[in-house]
Symmetry: C2
Subunit: 452 residues, 2 copies
Amino acid sequence: MSKNIIVIGSGAAGMTAASEAKRVDPSANVTVITDDEYIAYSPCVIPWAIEGEAKWEDIVMHDADYYAKERDISVLIKTKVESVSDADRKVITSDGKEFTYDSLIIATGSTVFVPPIEGKDQEGVFQVKTVNDGKSIQAALADTKRIVIGGAGVIGLELALGLVRLGKDVTIIEMMPQVIPRIADADMAAPIQKYLEDCGVKFVMNAPISKVCGTGKVTGVIAGKGDDAKEYPCEMVIFATGVRANLTIPKMLELDIGQLGAVITAPTMQAYKRGRLVNNIFLAGDVVQCQSAITSGATMSQLGSTAVKQGLVAGKNAAGGSAVFGPVASPWVSAVGELQIAGTGMSQGLASWYGLKIVEGKAQGLTRARYFPGGKPLTVKVIADAVSHRIIGAQIVSQEDVTGRINWLTSAIIDGSTAEDFIVRAENAYCPPTNQVRDVVLAAVDDLITKL
Amino acid sequence: MSKNIIVIGSGAAGMTAASEAKRVDPSANVTVITDDEYIAYSPCVIPWAIEGEAKWEDIVMHDADYYAKERDISVLIKTKVESVSDADRKVITSDGKEFTYDSLIIATGSTVFVPPIEGKDQEGVFQVKTVNDGKSIQAALADTKRIVIGGAGVIGLELALGLVRLGKDVTIIEMMPQVIPRIADADMAAPIQKYLEDCGVKFVMNAPISKVCGTGKVTGVIAGKGDDAKEYPCEMVIFATGVRANLTIPKMLELDIGQLGAVITAPTMQAYKRGRLVNNIFLAGDVVQCQSAITSGATMSQLGSTAVKQGLVAGKNAAGGSAVFGPVASPWVSAVGELQIAGTGMSQGLASWYGLKIVEGKAQGLTRARYFPGGKPLTVKVIADAVSHRIIGAQIVSQEDVTGRINWLTSAIIDGSTAEDFIVRAENAYCPPTNQVRDVVLAAVDDLITKL
């Protein structure tokens, strides 16, 4: 008899898991249940879609019809899950339909964390997570001159640039003293802030937002510490303050939740319940916490690329295949106008959270040979653990060719390479129009070794 | 007393070794002896310098004066080494000067291998190795309409494009059936040939050159097998037929030469003499053969990036420091107009030379998210050993962001990662304007695994 595989959630994790499950077991009945209207899109692109650089109709790659016809996967959109029972393997939706599963994949993702402050539920307050969030912002722009973005993470920065390009007066308000505070170091993040300032984005740093002003409609926010607190008038507030795992379904099933507020899984992406592996429940995406590749302990990796990787593992295992998900260094990259910033593994801030003592190396160079026209400045920073000498983090700022380099350094982190070993083993390709004869990545590790 | 360190050769290996030796032991007397006129430049850039895209005055980064004043390194240009004696640690130059060394670094590089055919020494026959080679070609262009390039390796291809852009009639004649025959596979090399054909470069494949015609001045070449042999009229022939190690000095010293026609070294870049380590003689660059990172046995890695890496090791050890040079996968990249092609480790041809049975995976995608404007096509091929499942080679063709990806795959080869393990461990950064959510590198390995 055909296996029933139910996937809850239609983001990168859910749709990948559904497709992979169907690929592994073509006879399976695969059903995706989602409360979203649009499926199979990348929330990361929403800043560019708001600006108009990418088109809404392009970014949603497939609709439910496509999945039905092309992949024989049933997708129920705008459908909420009312209850799930592990005992009788049933999912009941809010419209009263009942589904029985042999394998359940939970990919319920995350929700923007909006701080619990006064006035946050007024007209004119937005977040950036779904296509509908983005379209709502876009629709409200005509009546908006001044916009406050709460949070200077990469989504906030990308969005700010798009909005100033549309002629808006944009202020980013951040509670920490630097942009991209959790995953980038101050010295690497500074050129990004400078670039955005030159583009016209205003920054208010060290300033937690304590209130959204207005009587039903936003008129401003109050931000700043103690006597520095003041009002920043605006007609729109967008919270880009990070996300939290959606735990409603995992809690219904009493799955084990970890210290970081997300679901604990086995390497197979299977759930645990009171410490015991649950055979037929799998998870993927923002809803789970991961094992750090660097040190013992859990970490969060709420990235689209992680979601896809986990979706492949969950989907394959749910369909009777066999795969495992490894520990993560969580490489990321952001494009802010002409600049790209990428990072992997530990930043100073993350290392400090884990109590690690670090040593840093840094090098500056170009994306082409020094004498070759058109090279862009390239800065690479590498972080090692002071005790083991292992490479545990890296960050790169340039205008091109950043992603491949950060993936390369990610593999060094995951392989547990020491800085000294990396220098013996790593090689770089060379051609004057594409890079320097000794890549800046190697030069940064050379510098690091002099400090160990 | 200060140590005397003598370096023979002023290319990437020699100048890097000299600078590193001086850095490690600032009290050392470091002397570089070279028969070249220009020092410290990258021969790889000569195709672009001939075209005028890079300037001769820029590509020579430093002259002897600079090294004397800024680094306290003495560089004797246009100076030939007449003899070297290990017994009394003496180098005698052809102008009769005598130098005593405590450590000797041999970085004599390589020479273009011109096939021993009739007519090869006439006016109008060139090679592309030194700045003076390049300047000679440039000076002769005014009187030249038709140019034959012997050899479709990356230098030949890069040069051909530059010359058609200057309005010349350019024909590449290659004895093998594909371009970049040794290190690229036919399917990956084909788009490069097609691109060059579209730019106006003509190709004659499967055609060894058997004669350069002319009576003192080139009038054509005869190429082709058997009855296919015919004359290709031209006023200039440029041999880009690969290089051979310069062994004159190593042979004077009776150093051990390997099966590939280059000097054998220890991981410290020290020479051997009848199987015994020579304590005070080091080598670096095109003159040595390397250990393959993939399989037991020697390999050649006559690349600028390898030369610099070996120069650092040789220089450091010669000055009393401690470093080793690891086995190589020899990543390379070439820019041919808008296209970039890169490779690492084994091609089909190299794998076959080592007797390895291989399995291939391939994926095509884009350098940006599918829906994001401006993405360039990106093709990645990955080769695994059929027995061990280890990744042993990769090739990439795109228009951007090729180098970082090939370095990333190089680290997988050097770390001995199996394809299955790579998929568990590798992670990629993601942002719609810079790459796909699942990098094409991972997609290629996914494809490979289905075939194992």
